[in-house]
């Protein structure tokens, strides 16, 4: 299979309309004919990463690399960074404000979901510089 690269600019100013990049990636993965569970796992990771950039980092970029053996999603922002990554990875940890919680976010489950639904995950972050979250989903013989 040919390598495919999708690139998205994720806006930081409108979290009401967030999810555009994830919806588009899902459409493309469907067109490529992946099985629905693979698409579902990639979509969940992408959405959680996208929404985190919108809510916590004022936007960023998302790059999706589809290769023979895996789908890799790289989410990069120049937001405030994460002080303690292992704390942020814990279920239930969130710094979301009250107004964001009222929209249904802020359960502290986004990063744990990404870990659960990916086969490999890396979070590298520097306070005041930004955050890069990378997840990989392995592809079986079906792809």
């Amino acid at each position: 299979m040919e390598k495919i690269h999708l690139h998205y600019e994720v806006d930081g100013d409108n979290f009401m309309a967030a999810g555009e990049a994830s919806c588009d990636m899902k459409r493309v993965l469907k067109q490529l004919g992946f099985d629905s569970e693979t698409i579902r796992r990639a979509s969940i990771c992408m959405y959680e990463g996208e929404i985190n950039m919108v809510i916590h980092a004022d936007g960023g970029t998302a790059d999706v690399y589809v290769e023979t053996s895996r789908i890799e999603i790289v989410l990069t922002d120049s937001g405030p960074g994460i002080e303690d990554v292992s704390q942020a990875m814990q279920r239930g940890f969130s710094t979301a404000t009250q107004s964001i919680r009222e929209l249904g976010f802020g359960a502290g489950m986004g990063l744990p979901n990404m870990e659960q639904y990916s086969d490999w995950m890396d979070v590298s972050s520097e306070v005041g510089v930004g955050t890069t979250v990378t997840v990989r989903i392995a592809l079986g013989e079906t792809a």
Binding site: G19, C23, S36, S43, I44, E48, L103, G104, F105, M109
Partner: protein, 112 residues
């Protein structure tokens, strides 16, 4: 059971009348925190929630749920209705409680 049968039997109000509702429902999920739904809702579920903003559509799409039901008499935001129609997510409302809808669905699915 299909989305259409579920909606008709319980008298749910349909906000996406142009969508195909002959889609099977194979499970259910009740919850409002979006990342919990994201992590736990199983594909093919009917999702019962009181969340009424447009982010509900993206979560429903990503998780492959069969339909969304806003419970307890909650009204959808206008943007949610637009998004649901535009992205093809069947959206309903009901005055029944989340518990009543979930209990009915659970019984109906078990009897199949």
């Amino acid at each position: 059971m299909t989305v259409k049968e579920f909606a008709t039997t319980l008298g749910l109000k349909n906000w996406t009348p142009d969508l195909d509702l002959d889609v099977p429902i194979t499970g259910g999920y009740a919850g409002d925190m979006l990342s919990w739904v994201m992590g736990k809702a199983v594909a093919g579920s009917a999702w019962m929630t009181i969340m009424s903003n447009q982010n509900v559509v993206a979560v429903a799409l990503m998780t492959d749920v069969a339909c969304v039901v806003l419970t307890e008499g909650v009204e959808p935001d206008a943007a949610l209705v637009t998004q649901a129609n535009g992205r093809g997510v069947p959206l309903f409302t009901s005055d029944l409680s989340t518990y009543e809808l979930s209990a009915w669905l659970g019984t109906a699915l078990a009897a199949q």
